[in-house]
Structures are given as C-alpha cells and as structure tokens.
C-alpha cells in the first residue's frame, strides 16, 4: 500500500543556506505523524514546502498519488492538504465565522459548509459564542482553536499543524492536545509539528526527530518516548 504522503530526499534552501537537507518520511491515511526538534531544525520549512509556499531545491513529494513539488499553494489545498501555520495566522480583522468560511473557500456546498461550521463550534464552543467578533480580539489559545477549525473546513485528507501548543498556558495546551486526540479518533490524518515532545510523542503513531535540517531518529511515538537520547534532549531529563 502506498502512503497518503510520501516525502523523499526533500531539500529546501533560503538563498545559500540549506534549511532542509534531504529528508524522507511518509504518512499513512489515518495516522498521526509528528516531527519534533529544536528551534531552527527545519520543521516549519518542511511544512511550508509541502504546502507549496516554498519551492524545494531537490527531492520528491507525492500526495495522494500526485507529485506536489511544482504545485502552487492554492492548488495544494484543493488536493486535500490543509495547513494550520505556525503562529496561527488567523485573519485578525475578519470575524471568527468569516475566518471559518475562508477555510472552506474552495467548497461549493453551502449546506455542508454550514454543517461543518457548526461542527467547529461543537469542537470549540468558545468560537461559537464569539462568532461575530473580530478574530484578532481572541486570546492566543482561542486563535489556535480558530486556526485548527479553519484548516478543518476544507475537509482535508491530511491536516498539518505547526506548533499548535506554542505560547499557550498548560491548560490551553491540554485542551488543544485533547482536540488532536479527538480528531485522531474520528480518523483524521495529521502531520503534527511540536516542540512539546512529550505530548506529541504520546499521541503519535510515527515520530521523527529533526536536527539542523535532517531526520536524526525515527520510530513509533512510544519508541521515542522511551528512547534515552530523546528523553535527555527533548524531554528535559538527565
């Protein structure tokens, strides 16, 4: 069986600086796969390249049987790859509801869109209560919920989340992680980038540790959770 997403020997550079130096991994339908690693490891660069926002200098990306390396971002979404970017990037001066509607920009089924907006409000009730409010007035955690809800609005085959727990309080972080578990239980395929390695590894089927542009270690979430090197470097144990 071929995977939903296949990344092979992917290379990405900013000018002369190579940020991603030939990485390979895959995501099977229904899996949660996580990329962990320290600051500047190249995780965000990898996701932005998958989305088409950056052009790779080498390697292959195959999504759902189609090559992605030369596809512009708006067409990548159309193929079913959603991206909730690092730093949330909600549209601050549009309302929460308008943000969610933009997530469904390419869909034509207004009935289905309405149902999915209701589903997002079920998943995150606070968003429903504030639906007419400018998104920029939400707290960081609420903005993260909105960014995730918005990414789900295109009914993606694969949902990419870039540091959904960044800058959140422990309680908010738990809430976000619980939502990811819930999405996983519903069968959503997720590629999760996280600095919170403990949380990411405990819910991941597959995990990859990135360091300075390369994948240093791969295994199941549980394997890496119990790996001594990972525990030392990423889980703060000594």
């Amino acid at each position: 069986m071929t995977a939903l997403l296949e990344v092979e020997n992917l290379r990405v550079s900013y000018g002369k600086i190579e940020a991603v130096k030939g990485i390979s991994f895959s995501v099977e339908a229904g899996q949660v796969v996580t990329l962990i690693g320290t600051n500047g490891a190249g995780k965000t660069t990898t996701l932005r390249t998958l989305s088409g926002l950056l052009k790779p200098t080498g390697g292959k990306i195959v999504f759902n049987g189609k090559p992605l390396t030369r596809v512009p971002p708006h067409k990548v979404v159309a193929l079913g790859l959603a991206h909730s970017p690092e730093g949330r990037h909600i549209f601050p001066r549009l309302t929460i509801e308008q943000n969610l509607q933009l997530g469904a920009y390419l869909r034509k089924d207004s009935g289905g869109i309405g149902k999915d907006i209701d589903r997002a409000y079920e998943l995150f009730p606070i968003l429903g209560e504030r639906r007419k409010q400018a998104a920029g007035t939400l707290s960081g955690g609420e903005q993260q919920m909105l960014a995730m809800g918005r990414a789900l609005m295109c009914q993606p085959k694969l949902l990419m989340l870039d540091e959904p727990s960044m800058g959140l309080s422990p309680i908010m972080m738990q809430k976000i992680m619980a939502t990811i578990v819930e999405l996983k239980a519903q069968g959503t395929t997720i590629l999760l980038v996280e600095q919170n390695a403990q949380a990411a590894l405990s819910l991941a089927d597959q995990a990859h540790v990135m360091e300075v542009g390369a994948i240093k270690l791969s295994g199941t979430g549980q394997d890496l959770l119990h790996d001594e090197g990972v525990r030392k470097t990423y889980l703060g144990e000594d």
Binding site: L53, H74, H89, L94
Partner: protein, 309 residues
C-alpha cells in the same frame, strides 16, 4: 469672489475625482504594498481612450448615447494598461527590493506619457473633449455644471458598488484575506495572483471613470494631465489611510475641499495676501497632508485595504 457654499461644492467635485483615482493607489498598495506611480497615467490614458471612441462615432449621435461607449473605451484602455503593467512589469519584480518596482513605475509613467504624446494624433497640445449639455444649474448660491453632476454621480455609484463587492462577494472576501495575510490566504485556496490582477483592474476602471469625468468637466485633456492628478490622488490616499478604500474617497473629498477653500480664503488673512489663489493650492494640499500625518501617521481611516467590512 465665490461664496463659501460654492467653494465647498467645488471642493467636493474635484475631491470626488481625486477619490476615484485614489482608489487605484490604495487597492494596489493594500494588497501588494506597491505604490503604482504610473496610476496617474492610467487615468490619463482612460481619458484618451474615451476621446478616441468619441472621435470615431458618427456626428449625429447624441452625447448621452456616446457616453456609455466612451466609458467602455476608456475602461478597456485603462484596465488593459493596469493589468498589463502588473503582469509584465510588477509581477516579475515581486520579492525584489522595494525600490525596483518603484523605479519601474516611474519609468512606466514617463513611457505612457510619451506614447500618448507621440502617437495620439495631435496630442502635443491639449485635446478638445466633448461636454455635456445643460446647466449650469443653480442651487441656492451654488452653480453646478453638468460635468460636475456626472462626476459626483459616478463617484457615488462606483464607491457604493465597490463597497458592496468587497463586503459581500466571495472574491471581495478573498481580497480582504489577501490584504491581511497573503501567505495564509493562499493556504485557504485563494489564487492571490488573480486577486492582485482584480485589484489592478478595479483601480484601472476607477481611473478611467475619473479620466472621462475630467474631460467632461474641463472640456480638455492633455498627455501630462496624469502627473498632477496622480500626485493629488496619491496624497488623498495617504491622507485617508493608504490601503483603506473608504479612506481614499474621504481623503479625496477632504483634500478637494481644503484646496478649494485655501485658494479662495487664505489670501484674505492679513499678511498672507500673496499665499492664496491657484498657484498656492498645491502647497496647502501638502501642508494639510503633513498636519494630518503628524497627528495620525496612519491617515484618517488608516488600516489596510477593504478592512472595514
């Protein structure tokens, strides 16, 4: 000596024209952060496009029947030039240092002037432009020309249509998203290149309307008419808050009224007898701009494009 109501009315008329042109500066800036300095020439070519159509219509045709055709002609010319400039000159420079597209815009502006100067028949001097019959109409103390009525009606209709488009259409929403966060807009599936083309096209259309209205108002157009009008409209866009479409119109009106009143009344102030009149009105326009920007650096309604929906 005109009365105060007359000065205010004159200011609103010329201000409507500044506002129509300013829309093009502000929409483009709001979405790609580019100051399209060739926009004044897009306005000028719109006027010449309208005149070219008029010249080729049968003499028997009434000006009212000719008007929609002239508008169509001017709009086609302006929109094609605006969109062509985006595709051929600005898009290849996206991501280049800011100065590169700016210099390109200035070059394009000079090139367009020269093209009209050299190739439009007998365009080296002013060209006579047809006028609307009727008028002047007297409303109280105020005299209003037919051309002024056309100008104000056109500005109101265009502005209302644009506001409705931005607020309610799917493309308008995509435009707001692109102005706020272009990368993320792409992640929603928005083809931002298409949105940019639409912004240039709308700006071009508004400039063509202004070009036609200007011809009708003054009865004459000239190859270099875009320079001053463009500068004023750019000032209006900054005054209103560049990136904001309502700001562009408001900035135009405020600038027009200020200019008109300054040229009429400043010279009445003892000691400033020499500082009024036509010659000084541009100076006062910029004084106003500077004063407003000192108090509100982001302009009167300073936000980004189409954000007040």
């Amino acid at each position: 000596m005109h009365t105060l109501p007359q000065q205010l009315a004159n200011g609103l008329f010329i201000g409507s024209m500044y506002g129509l042109i300013a829309i093009g500066y502000t929409m483009v800036y709001g979405i790609v952060q580019l100051i399209n300095f060739a926009h004044g020439e897009i306005y000028m070519t719109g006027a010449f496009g309208a005149l070219a159509v008029y010249t080729n219509l049968p003499d028997s045709m009434s000006i009212w029947a000719a008007l929609p055709l002239m508008l169509a002609g001017g709009a086609i010319v302006s929109v094609l030039i605006a969109v062509g400039a985006e595709r051929l000159a600005y898009r290849p420079l996206r991501g280049a240092p800011r100065l590169a597209p700016l210099i390109t815009a200035i070059g394009l502006s000079l090139a367009l002037q020269q093209v009209v100067f050299l190739w439009y028949p007998n365009a080296t001097a002013g060209k006579h432009f047809p006028q609307l019959p009727g008028g002047p109409y007297h409303v109280g103390d105020v005299d209003i020309q037919s051309g002024d009525i056309f100008l104000v009606v056109a500005a109101v209709v265009c502005m209302a249509a644009l506001a409705a488009f931005v607020r309610t259409s799917r493309t308008g929403r995509a435009m707001q998203a692109t102005a706020q966060d272009p990368d993320t807009a792409q992640l929603m599936g928005i083809d931002t290149n298409r949105i940019i083309v639409i912004a240039f096209a709308i700006g071009g259309f508004f400039a063509a309307v202004a070009g036609l209205a200007s011809g009708l108002k003054y009865g004459q157009i000239k190859y270099d008419m875009g320079f001053q009008a463009g500068l004023k409209a750019f000032t209006a866009a900054v005054l209103g808050g560049i990136g904001n479409i309502y700001g562009a119109m408001l900035g135009g009106l405020v600038l027009g009224v200020a200019e008109s009143c300054a040229s009429a009344y400043i010279s009445n102030i003892p000691g400033m007898e020499q500082l009024g009149g036509e010659g000084w009105k541009n100076v006062w326009a910029f004084v106003l701009l500077i004063l407003v920007l000192l108090a509100r650096p982001q302009g009167l309604l300073g936000e980004r494009v189409a954000d007040r929906a």
